[in-house]
């Protein structure tokens, strides 16, 4: 008898991802789905996907889903959770969506300590629209709208979302993780699980920032992208837990 030792999580559909080769969205989707499966939450989870590369996430997560307008996922999730406090509600947002157009929504969802979980995927660039500069684009990083590299005088310096949100009393769990190698993927999953456990315990707002790659718009191969993330993003965006409630430590 063959024994299944690896399978698609129930909380993912069998729809083929549209993501580019070497993009780590697929890994992050899988981690979220594994956590939902392992916690037995597939039946009562509602997800909210953003505008950006993960706009089609509603086709991939095998749970009830919303597609929100650009940046507004935390407000949509607030509406859902205030109607259905017993359900598990998560948002899945990129850096253009969350850190630029949606800054007001994420800050105030955190300030109100909405009992939702946010997965924030930071790859330092707008992907879907063609590789434009994001609030998280690194100093000197070339994009289609910073062709000479991001200049401090013109564009200011990047936003460190996790550190900023961690200053709010309402943000009870904030962590930054990466998925550039197996060791970090394991750590990322632990953080994502904790962010869902905090919601189930009714403790408040939880966010996991996941550093991610964009080979297409970085102009690098998948392998080079992994290296670039480790060597450039992690020094600017240090990994770690910025806030953690005593109950789940």
């Amino acid at each position: 008898m063959a024994k299944v030792i690896f399978k698609r999580p129930d909380s993912l559909t069998d729809k083929q991802f549209h993501y580019c080769p070497g993009c780590t969205h697929g890994i992050i989707h899988r981690l979220v789905a594994e956590v939902i499966d392992e916690m037995g939450l597939q039946d009562d989870t509602v997800g909210v996907c953003p505008v950006g590369c993960s706009v089609f996430a509603y086709d991939y997560f095998n749970v009830d889903m919303f597609q929100a307008s650009h940046g507004r996922a935390p407000a949509v999730a607030t509406g859902i959770k205030r109607c259905l406090p017993e359900r598990t509600v998560f948002t899945y947002q990129g850096d253009g969506d969350l850190a630029s157009i949606g800054t007001a929504e994420i800050v105030h969802a955190a300030a109100r300590s909405e009992k939702i979980t946010t997965i924030f995927v930071n790859n330092a660039v707008y992907g879907m629209t063609g590789g434009q500069m994001a609030p998280t684009t690194l100093p000197g990083q070339k994009t289609t709208t910073s062709p000479r590299g991001r200049e401090k005088e013109l564009n200011g310096l990047p936003v460190r979302v996790s550190e900023m949100l961690a200053t709010l009393d309402g943000a009870v769990y904030v962590a930054r993780v990466s998925v550039h190698d197996p060791k970090h993927i394991v750590q990322a999953k632990k953080a994502i699980r904790k962010a869902f456990e905090i919601q189930k315990a009714g403790l408040g707002f939880a966010l996991v920032e996941v550093l991610s790659t964009c080979p297409t718009n970085w102009g690098l191969s998948p392998k080079e992208s992994i290296k670039w993330l480790a060597e450039n993003m992690i020094p600017y965006y240090p990994l770690g837990v910025f806030k953690e409630p005593a109950e789940v430590k």
Binding site: Q42, D43, D44, T45, V46, V48, V55, F56, Y58, F61, N62, V63, D64, M65, F66, Q67, A68, S69, R72, A75, V76, A77, T78, G79, I80, K81, R82, C83, L84, R87, A104, E105, V107, H108
Partner: protein, 354 residues
């Protein structure tokens, strides 16, 4: 039944509660403030949620979440706030979500002022946000009508899976009138919402609340489906009031507060021997075009009275379709037409013999 004295803004809130709405999201703005004040107190009493959002942009997206989860929900604001909500309203239409949006209109453009106005007619009935769509737009003219119409608003929203807008102005919102209220409230039956994304709970196929149709053929099909629905709404839900219209030689028309002023002018004109009548659209969309077309058969002229530089008058002209002259009298920027000035306009037009 008991008779109570109520402000228009409070009536919107009480009407919503009696219609079974238990989730309100909003951002402070004058002149609708009494509504959130009222609901901040009342919602917890009935086990509901009143939540103050960080902006109108967020309020309308909270409504999107609550409506998509299958709940009767609403937001309210005044003109500048409605401008901020237009993106969200377009998404609500695209995802075919039922909800009620209230606009207690004030003077504009820009920051304008907090005085009563009707300058958001175009925004309400011609789309407002991006894309091809219509909203059902209700325009009450008294506090009693507000309270009765909130029930209609939620029912139409659920029946047709569409956002419904209720428009008032600073006067309707602020003024107090006696209203008849049923002593015992039986919550209305809300239709089942098998499309709601509220967790699988044993269902096999996930529900998705979405307005993204990446394939143009699919997006065109959405538009065609919406407009087929609008045809049904236009055929079945058009509402208006006629007053002394049968033998009218001059037909006054307007909505909301302007219609009340026009109605008083009709009586004054009649007492001076002028055969005046009134058409008051209660639904601004669907617009009661046929009533105007019918009246054009016997009336000599029309006079549209608005608290704007002339917006609804365009729909009146389309409805009359050149058969008779359609004149306009309006005040804007928060100014309200005086009955004596409207009457003078009526006399001038009648003397002109057009």
């Amino acid at each position: 039944m008991s008779k109570v004295l109520m402000k228009g803004n409070e009536a919107i809130g009480e009407g919503a509660i009696r219609a079974g709405c238990r989730h309100f999201f909003g951002y402070p703005i004058t002149p609708q403030s009494e509504l959130p004040h009222y609901l901040a107190k009342r919602m917890p009493e009935v086990g509901g949620v009143f939540l103050q959002a960080e902006s109108e942009t967020s309020s309308i997206n909270m409504v999107y979440g609550a409506a998509g989860a299958g709940f009767r929900t609403m937001t309210s604001s005044s003109s500048p706030g409605l401008s901020l909500m237009q993106e969200g309203i377009s998404y609500l239409v695209g995802a075919e979500l039922p909800c009620v949006v209230v606009n207690v209109m004030r003077g504009g453009p820009g920051l304008g002022n907090i005085a009563p106005a009707q300058g958001d007619y175009f925004q309400a009935v011609k789309g407002g946000g991006h894309g091809d769509y219509k909203l059902v737009v209700l325009a009450p003219a008294s506090v009693q009508e507000i309270i009765d119409m909130m029930q209609v608003a939620f029912d139409l929203a659920d029946q047709y899976r569409t956002p419904v807008m209720l428009v008032g102005d600073g006067i309707l919102g602020q003024m107090m009138e006696p209203v008849e209220l049923a002593d015992e409230v039986t919550l209305p039956e809300v239709p089942a919402k098998p499309w709601a994304a509220s967790g699988l709970k044993g269902r096999k196929k996930p529900n998705i609340v979405n307005s993204l149709y990446i394939v143009p053929e699919d997006c065109e099909e959405l538009n065609q489906r919406l407009f087929a629905k609008y045809d049904v709404i236009a055929a079945q839900e058009t509402r208006w009031e006629e007053y002394r219209l049968e033998d009218a030689e001059i037909v006054l028309t307007g909505f909301g507060t302007a219609a009340r002023i026009a109605k008083s002018v009709v009586d004054k004109a009649r007492s001076e021997g002028i055969k005046a009548g009134l058409i008051r659209p209660i639904t601004l969309w669907p617009f009661p075009s046929e009533v105007y077309a019918k009246a054009a058969a016997h009336a000599n002229k029309f006079l549209c009275v608005e608290m704007s530089m002339g917006q609804m008058v365009e729909d009146v002209r389309l409805a009359v379709n050149g058969k008779k002259p359609v004149h306009f009298y309006g005040r804007s920027g928060g100014m309200v037409p005086l009955a004596k000035d409207v009457l003078a306009e009526v006399k001038k037009l009648m003397a002109g013999g057009e």
